[in-house]
């Protein structure tokens, strides 16, 4: 994902970035009804849908987001179960199970769910992250009940047979080849994450380490399924051409019949110790044609922060690393002319402590050391003199404006609400996001920068064609 960020042309605005990243999806959480900063007119125009939330007796939370423009609904089920919830030695099981969820149940044979989606021209997919796994279909409103019936069914009735799921493990291996093994940049990021997180399972790749994936079995998948796939550990999001009453009625009729299968309890994953040592990762690979530099800092997420630190990071990322007017780009690419790219990002959407990152790729005769020194110079200047009032107000305004664009897509809205609530947010918090961004001050931005952008909290990564000297 980060590679996308780095290679995308700057003219594709941050709006597109955040969608691609998924992570910063929360930064998109727009919207609605709350007075925005004075520079933003948008608040006076028609703003956002009336979002409803309720719980079924079995503990399933249901979110309804109306969007009546087209006869389409997006139906998504989110589980509080991601790769960071896996037992030691079983890396990749959350993602492997996601693939296996398409293999049929006691009453629905392998592939039938997908066939029924395709039969009505629907779209479907599923995705796994460090903190959640989600499944979705986009269909016409008439098909919603059928989708809910099928999704509720596979929440409790999955059937797996060892000999029939081996081929899917090979598919996962090929997925790893496509995403990671074929791409030195991905291998570097994998190594950097493993170094940044010294104790937390965020350091282990979502897709799993190859040797562990190859040893995963049906029993591992079923154990993970039985522990986490239960209505009281899930959030259902329905967005589109449907009203809350209908969704409530259908949800009771379908998901309402699923028993509480487990009590997953509080997600206490191993947490990070206070970092003491700056770390460096240097990787070379004959396939590398253009060297690249990255720096990651361990920082709080929207869920693990205190007093609006995440919102301050969001504004900081915009000022120091967002696009071609950012401090990094202006100093390193335009001013010093030693890099073809330079920027930064904040990955706020995570349950536990997460990443603030910088990247750059040297230009001409410049080296990785040169761009690292230039990056450090921009950071040092920031820490010394802080950001300006003008920078903060511009960044706030841009972030809030970009958020409005997500209203144009029911899939984005479904993803924003589902992805935020599954990570501990609430509808109210999502709706208040523009207001909170509007309240970010020079002092709060300077405070998070000075507290967290410390070398000892960081990992520096070099990717180069040949061995790095020294």
């Amino acid at each position: 994902m980060k590679e996308l960020l780095m290679s995308l042309k700057k003219s594709i605005k941050a709006a597109a970035f955040a969608l691609l990243l998924g992570s910063t999806a929360i930064s998109f959480s727009t919207l609605f009804s709350t007075p925005l900063t004075s520079t933003v007119q948008a608040a006076e125009e028609k703003f956002g849908p009336e979002v409803t939330s309720f719980f079924l007796d079995n503990g399933l939370q249901v979110i309804v987001i109306p969007d009546r423009r087209a006869p389409v609904v997006t139906h998504m089920i989110w589980y509080r179960a991601g790769s960071a919830d896996e037992p030691p030695g079983k890396s990749g099981i959350a993602h492997y199970l996601e693939h296996l969820m398409f293999k049929g149940t006691k009453t629905i044979k392998n592939g039938e769910f997908s066939a029924r989606v395709a039969a009505i021209g629907g779209q479907e997919n599923a995705f796994t992250s460090t903190d959640y796994t989600a499944y979705f279909q986009r269909v016409t409103p008439q098909a919603l009940e059928d989708m809910m019936t099928l999704e509720a069914d596979r929440m409790e009735n999955l059937v797996l047979e060892q000999d029939k799921i081996i081929a899917e493990r090979d598919v996962v291996n090929e997925e790893r080849n496509t995403r990671t093994e074929n791409n030195p940049g991905s291998l570097l990021r994998e190594a950097m994450a493993a170094a940044l997180y010294q104790n937390h399972r965020y350091g282990i790749p979502i897709i799993g380490w190859k040797h562990e994936v190859n040893a995963l079995t049906k029993d591992d998948a079923i154990a993970f399924y039985d522990k986490f796939y239960t209505p009281n550990n899930a959030v259902l999001v329905v967005a589109g051409d449907v009203d809350a009453e209908t969704v409530k009625m259908l949800a009771k009729k379908t998901y309402g019949k699923v028993k509480r299968r487990a009590e997953p309890g509080v997600r206490n994953r191993p947490s990070e110790p206070e970092p003491r040592a700056a770390r460096r990762i240097e990787m070379s690979d004959a396939r590398v044609r253009t060297p690249s530099f990255q720096r990651l800092y361990l920082v709080p997420s929207y869920n693990s922060d205190e007093d609006g630190e995440a919102e301050a990071f969001e504004v900081l990322a915009e000022i120091i690393g967002g696009g071609s007017t950012s401090r990094m780009y202006k100093s390193i690419v335009i001013g010093k002319k030693i890099a073809t790219s330079a920027g930064g990002w904040y990955q706020g959407g995570a349950l536990d402590h997460t990443e603030f990152g910088f990247y750059s790729s040297p230009r001409g005769a410049a080296t990785l050391k040169d761009v690292e020194a230039a990056t450090d110079e921009v950071i040092a200047e920031l820490l010394k003199n802080g950001v300006t009032e003008k920078e903060v107000s511009r960044a706030r305004s841009r972030l809030v404006k970009q958020a409005v664009f997500s209203q144009d897509s029911q899939s984005s809205l479904a993803r924003i609400y589902g992805g935020s609530i599954i990570l501990g947010s609430t509808i109210e918090k999502i709706e208040n996001w523009p207001k909170r961004i509007g309240e970010v001050t020079v002092e709060s931005v300077n405070a998070v920068a000075r507290k967290f952008l410390k070398k000892k909290r960081s990992v520096t990564g070099y990717l180069s064609p040949e061995r790095i000297e020294g």
């Binding site: 087209a70 997908s114 395709a118 021209g121 044609r289 897509s409």
Partner: protein
């Protein structure tokens, strides 16, 4: 959050474009109210008014694209996509970038083989400013040497990375084998040599030749009425020259060449296959679209998905598509798997192509494909204003008629089993060309 998906999204064709056909299906239940609007200066646009969300989406395309790059100047159109926003009129790069960011509009430009395209999304409240900025980018870009140098350096970096990317290596071989001496064989992004030589005057020369009114199509969706749209059309596009100066691009009949293997040390072998195909305006287009869906166009439901991924676990992604361009058509297919299983994967794909040529689809497959293709239109293409604006542009580019959105389902429904069997026999009966990039198995 890092996120993995169960399935690859739409396979991108080797030419870096998604076949036009992707945007062209309709649910009979859904009617989009499309109006034709013509400005005082005679600029035409298709409009869908919608005030649900306070946004306006504008898409446009100039016929031309990368085929209009001069010989030896390959990459001009693509470099132009990166430099239009680097200052315009009296406003230099940084100041212009700040204006764009403060306005909050989202915008993008792209250059494919046949068209130079662009689009913006703007808040209704900021739209006047956004239209001014778009006017400046299209009419008065500065192309200061500093900015061109900077963007060229970034492009060159990208080209260098492609040298060791198995997909790019395969794409290059594929393109050259299919299109030989035709302009379509040229690299859309240029080479290290041609990109390295591009100067501001090359960009301005391209802009003057290609950005004109007679090769322009526009689609607009959102919170804007006809009168406001007319004013916008004249403001943004009204000062462009009346006629484009386009080089003729010859029609080309694709003939597939010899199989080839490119040795490259990478864990996963990239596989591409091709056959001669048809163009978008071919009478058999809808029939071919259905056959392709059945073979490998459906993401979770296709013969290739079933045989390659589901039954044997050979690959994460396997696909087929119709490569339909203005002057040529081909059928493409591909996958990626570890070296020692590459031959098996190729054999299965070739077998399925042969089987399709011999037997064609079954009635059941055809019925399912029709249902999917008719039903998926609204779901896939009409749910955001940006996507609808793209549809409005595509309808005009392919000259499908303003009633296309409503008629589409009828066109699909009318295809019979005899039609698809005939099309399958015609298109899939020869041996496909196979290109692989990866390690040789010892």
């Amino acid at each position: 959050m890092r996120v993995l998906s169960k399935n690859k999204l739409s396979p991108v064709s080797v030419l870096g474009l998604i076949a036009l056909a992707v945007v062209t299906f309709v649910s009979p239940a859904f009617a989009v109210d499309i109006k034709t609007v013509i400005s005082k200066k005679g600029i035409k646009a298709l409009l869908v008014e919608d005030y649900t969300v306070p946004l306006i989406a504008v898409s446009f395309a100039f016929e031309g694209g990368t085929t209009q790059d001069l010989a030896g100047k390959e990459g001009t159109a693509q470099l132009l996509t990166n430099t239009l926003d680097e200052g315009a009129g009296d406003i230099k790069s940084q100041a212009f970038q700040e204006m764009l960011q403060d306005n909050g509009m989202s915008y993008s430009f792209s250059a494919g083989l046949d068209a130079f395209s662009g689009g913006i999304k703007t808040l209704k409240s900021e739209s006047e400013g956004a239209f001014d900025l778009l006017h400046l980018m299209l009419n008065k870009p500065r192309f200061d040497l500093e900015a061109v140098d900077r963007m060229r350096a970034s492009r060159l970096n990208g080209l260098k990375r492609q040298e060791t990317n198995p997909q790019s290596i395969a794409g290059k071989a594929f393109r050259e084998a299919l299109f030989k001496d035709h302009p379509y064989s040229r690299p859309t992004g240029g080479t290290l040599e041609t990109m390295g030589g591009l100067m501001p005057e090359d960009l301005e020369d391209y802009r003057k030749r290609v950005f004109a009114r007679d090769n322009l199509v526009v689609g607009v969706v959102g919170a804007i009425n006809e009168e406001a749209l007319k004013a916008m059309l004249d403001k943004v596009f009204g000062d462009l020259p009346e006629k484009a100066q386009l080089k003729d691009v010859p029609e080309y009949s694709v003939k597939v060449g010899e199989d080839s293997h490119i040795e490259f040390d990478t864990p996963q072998t990239n596989i591409r296959l091709a056959l001669p195909g048809i163009k978008r305006d071919d009478p058999e287009f809808y029939s071919a679209y259905l056959v392709n869906y059945i073979l490998g166009g459906g993401s979770f439901a296709s013969r290739l998905y079933e045989e390659v991924r589901e039954k044997r676990g050979l690959a994460y992604g396997v696909y087929s598509y119709l490569g339909t361009y203005d002057h040529a058509g081909f059928l493409g297919s591909g996958s990626a798997t570890q070296a020692d299983r590459a031959q098996t994967t190729v054999d299965i794909i070739v077998q399925e192509i042969e089987r399709m040529g011999k037997e064609g689809p079954t009635q059941e497959e055809l019925d399912k494909a029709k249902k999917y293709i008719i039903g998926s239109y609204a779901i896939a293409n009409l749910d955001t204003s940006g996507k609808i604006a793209s549809v409005l542009v595509a309808i005009q580019q392919a000259d499908l008629g303003i009633d296309y959105v409503d008629k589409r389902a009828e066109y699909i429904a009318a295809i019979t089993l005899d039609d698809v069997k005939r099309t399958a026999a015609k298109l899939y009966s020869s041996k496909p060309m196979v290109i692989t990039v990866g390690r040789t198995v010892k």
